[in-house]
């Protein structure tokens, strides 16, 4: 394919599925006039413009902030959640990463706990329900003590921040052969476990969150490490190790 004004063309295979219970399949599309600095989602915007102008129905996909922080987007691109780059969300993935004329496959995040809504849009509310089971500090508004009364060493605060950086996109689940949410859950547990504020509910939190994770249909972790590789926010496997230690500790402590 030729490059005109530095603009590129691609052939795409995109998963189309009308609804959760409808059959789905990969459909071929061609897109051209793509600037290398465009994001992957802007490329899809342009494809959708072409489809709309030709009288078709555009590809449904989710996105919002388009700067890599809200966690709304997420497409499996050429077999990898969020595409080929390390620590980059689909909305921040630029078309310069794909050579002119490349064939690209785009599919939704797949997991039993993430039903497909339409095309590339999935339902990740299972992650909210896991958080509802203790993924917070129980503090009522207006009753907080003076903030500096509770010193937190800088390195502890930094480690907590490393875990808190999770954007809840679900790429860890989509990349895991077991569709486990352990990286997501582990990150929240580790953030709260490290901070003095989270200590009071430490035992209850890990037991309830892990139980809910299982109830939602997420699989177990079997140390593949794919989640860490797919995570756009560099959440490490250490979070899963922490979750396990915390779980054992809590189980022994609570006698269950």
């Amino acid at each position: 394919m030729s490059t005109r004004n530095g603009l590129r063309s691609y052939s795409l295979k995109i998963w189309r599925q009308a609804g959760p219970d409808k059959p789905g399949n990969l459909v071929d599309y061609a897109v051209s006039g793509i600037h290398p600095d465009m994001s992957f989602l802007e490329m899809l915007d342009q494809l959708n413009q072409d489809i709309v102008c030709a009288g078709g129905e555009p590809v449904a996909f989710d996105s919002d902030c388009r700067e890599g922080i809200c966690g709304t987007c997420g497409i499996v691109i050429d077999g990898r959640p969020h595409g080929p780059l390390v620590n980059v969300t689909a909305c921040n993935l630029r078309m310069r990463e794909f050579p002119d004329g490349a064939a690209i496959v785009a599919e939704p995040f797949r997991a039993k706990a993430f039903p497909i809504v339409k095309d590339l849009v999935i339902d990740r509310s299972a992650l909210d329900r896991v958080i509802q089971h203790g993924g917070y500090v129980s503090i009522n508004v207006g009753s907080a003590a003076e903030a500096n009364q509770m010193p937190i060493p800088k390195d502890i605060a930094e480690q907590a921040m490393d875990s808190a950086a999770c954007i809840g996109c679900g790429a860890c689940v989509a990349s895991c052969p077991n569709a486990s949410a352990s990286l997501f859950v582990g990150a929240k547990i580790r953030q709260m476990m490290l901070l003095p504020q989270g200590k009071a509910e430490r035992t209850r939190r890990v037991l309830e969150m892990v139980q809910q994770m299982d109830a939602e249909g997420f699989g177990d972790c079997s140390n593949h490490g794919e989640c860490e590789a797919a995570c756009p926010k560099a959440i490490t496997l250490e979070n899963i190790a922490t979750m396990r230690r915390e779980y054992v500790r809590a189980a022994l402590k609570s006698g269950c």
């Binding site: 339409k118 003076e146 937190i152 921040m161």
Partner: protein, 643 residues
């Protein structure tokens, strides 16, 4: 010009007397709802960002039934998540002279004396509690080695009062509120409805009693009834098409409330943020903001000579113009956003812009030399990484290129001191209201306002409203719900039936580009009058030639966007009218005809020291202007001076 400040509807209800004690006195005088009665009230909260999430969680904690509507798939994704830089609080931890009064003063001055004093004072007072609350929730703010909270400085301030969590402060504060919200969802106090878009407000007996929503997955229209409605739906700068806002941010919920009788205040006040990554191509969907905190260590410059196309490294120090340091020596690179934005526009208009011509350099080489790469990486690492991802350039090696972009809207629905709109029962929180920032918002104060409104103001003022009585029981069977639903259904049907030739996106792009040119960083009467004509023509074309594919009974992004763009045509016109009416320059509103000899803003306090509040009257062109006079008893009106 006649002022209609006698109108009861525009009573600000701000307590008279010393501003330092007004909030305490107001709370003391507020009526209370007894704990046993709170569960009898249902509150509809629209939005789950910092304002909506914190309000929904706080009210459920108090015992109210809360129905919470969320446009995203999860409340954790609200656009508050994207605020990077920090949140202000008058803690004076660095002992550099900060105080509640100083934060209040800076905010009133920063907003160019177009905010309501009492609201701003309350915001400064509660800022202290916000930090306590968030720390207690486990928000991992940056710390000093001794374990104490760290602070940094931000544009428009000479003290370090900004608390931050790397470059992800908004995300962490939102996750704190989200945690509290999830706790209440689990406890049953909040019923959460994700992927819902509010499309109409239901007013019964003159009070806000419910909303009609579209379920964005099934397309079904849903009715929710309650005793009060809290609108926490953020700002509307996506009206410009390209902005720093998320693609789903919109004005529709607020606009539909306006059409039901809520006044829209100061629509022309849009903050243009100076530190955004410049636009590159036609198909771009958004502009990415780089945190203002970068200006703490980055120096802004352009070549002295127009048309100098050499690489930055080839331009000697003597040939560079560090224009912010030159023009505003006292504040230098830390001048407020409107000042920095206009200065960047000025040097680019002189032909000294870099890159595409619409960019200036933000250079860290001095800071790297002075502090070392490690310190810079510690402070701004993730922002540098983000810049590199987007532009393919490494800011450690070569200066960033930045240019201003539409960011935050200070305009919004008019509210009184209780955060109540001109429709009794409709309360408006956070960016969706107009109240605290005047004509320009200082950095690190949006997060502050969202959380202040949700955690600390509405729990008191809503109780006062509810305890006032007179609320009869209503159900979704009421005729007003049927009417609202019919209105929504008709509009959806109309949009789908047009079957024209232009996409929603093309119309949005066309409108946004026009608004950026005419009511963006600078405006003048001729441009605004022309824009109004053009918008009307575009709007006519939209309603005859837009193509919305698919059906109404499905997940249909194009249909969602069509409804929002339809409202933007009307809002865009009102923005122009408001800008035309305001014959002065203040904050982000820069009317080219009203400037000082040095080219700075020239306010006209005699004629324009008021909030403009627009009342819907059938068509946008007929909207009626009301004025809420602003009085400055504590901070004396003065020319903003950052030199």
């Amino acid at each position: 010009m006649a002022t209609d400040n006698t109108e009861a509807k525009l009573d600000s209800r701000a307590p008279s007397g010393p501003v330092e004690t007004s909030w305490e006195r107001h709370k003391r005088d507020a009526r209370l709802v007894s704990p046993a009665n709170k569960r009898k009230f249902t509150i509809i909260v629209v939005g789950t960002g910092l304002a909506g999430g914190s309000a929904a969680a706080s009210l459920a904690e108090l015992g109210y039934n809360v129905v919470n509507l969320c446009i995203q798939d999860s409340p954790r994704r609200a656009h508050s998540v994207a605020a990077q830089g920090g949140i202000n609080a008058a803690k004076n931890y660095p002992n550099d002279g900060d105080s509640v009064f100083r934060l209040f003063y800076d905010t009133v001055k920063g907003g160019d004396f177009r905010a309501r004093e009492a609201n701003v004072y309350r915001l400064a007072q509660e800022s202290v509690n916000i930090i306590d609350q968030c720390v207690a929730q486990g928000v991992p703010f940056a710390r000093e080695y001794g374990g104490m909270l760290a602070n940094r400085s931000f544009g428009g301030a000479q003290v370090s009062r900004t608390f931050y969590a790397r470059g992800q402060t908004g995300q962490q504060l939102l996750l704190g509120a989200y945690g509290s919200l999830m706790r209440q969802v689990h406890a049953g106090g909040v019923k959460m409805f994700p992927r819902r878009e509010m499309l109409d407000l239901v007013v019964i007996d003159g009070r806000a009693r419910g909303v009609v929503c579209r379920n964005l997955v099934t397309g079904a229209l849903e009715r929710y009834a309650g005793d009060a409605v809290l609108l926490c739906t953020g700002g509307y700068s996506t009206v410009f098409f390209l902005s720093t806002n998320a693609v789903n941010s919109n004005a529709t919920a607020a606009w539909r409330c306006y059409k039901r009788g809520a006044y829209f205040a100061n629509p022309c006040f849009t903050q243009i943020h100076p530190t955004c990554i410049p636009r590159v191509g036609e198909q771009q969907s958004k502009l990415t903001l780089m945190s203002e905190s970068l200006r703490n260590d980055g120096r802004v410059w352009v070549p002295k000579a127009a048309g100098d196309k050499r690489l930055p490294g080839q331009i000697a120090e003597s040939e560079r113009d560090y224009f912010l340091e030159r023009m505003y020596p006292a504040f230098g690179n830390l001048v407020p956003r409107d000042i920095a934005s206009r200065a960047a526009k000025l040097v680019c208009d002189e032909g000294r812009g870099v890159g595409s011509g619409l960019a200036v350099y933000l250079d860290f080489s001095d800071a790297v030399k002075r502090l070392g790469k490690e310190t810079i990486a510690d402070r701004y690492g993730n922002l540098f990484e983000m810049y590199r991802e987007i532009t393919n350039h490494d800011p450690y090696e070569t200066p960033m290129q930045i240019y201003p972009a539409p960011h935050y809207t200070m305009g919004g629905l008019w509210v009184d001191y209780n955060l109540m709109s001109t429709i009794p029962g409709l309360h408006v929180l956070g960016e969706a209201n107009f109240s605290d920032h005047g004509a320009n918002r200082l950095g690190a104060s949006a997060l502050m306002q969202g959380l202040c409104d949700g955690y600390f103001v509405i729990p008191h003022t809503l109780g006062h409203y509810l305890a006032g009585g007179g609320l009869v029981s209503v159900s979704t069977d009421h005729a007003a719900f049927a009417e609202a639903e019919t209105r929504v259904k008709e509009q959806v049907g109309k949009l789908l039936a047009i079957g024209g030739r232009k996409s929603v996106r093309e119309f949005h792009y066309q409108l946004g580009t026009l608004l950026w040119d005419r009511v963006g960083m600078a405006r003048n009467a001729t441009g605004l009058r022309g824009a109004i004509e053009k918008i009307r023509a575009m709007r006519d074309e939209f309603w005859n030639n837009v193509r919305v594919p698919g059906s109404g009974e499905d997940f249909n992004k194009e249909l969602e966007m069509a409804g929002r763009v339809a409202d933007y045509f009307e809002l865009g016109e009102l923005m122009c009218r408001d800008a035309l009416e305001r014959e002065e320059s203040c904050g982000c509103h820069f009317r080219e005809e009203y400037r000082t000899e040095e080219g700075e803003c020239k306010r006209d306090d005699e004629r324009f020291s008021f909030v403009s509040a627009w009342e819907y009257a059938g068509r946008t062109g007929d909207a009626r202007l009301h004025r809420e006079p602003l009085e400055f008893d504590t901070v004396h009106l003065a020319t903003r001076q950052y030199k």
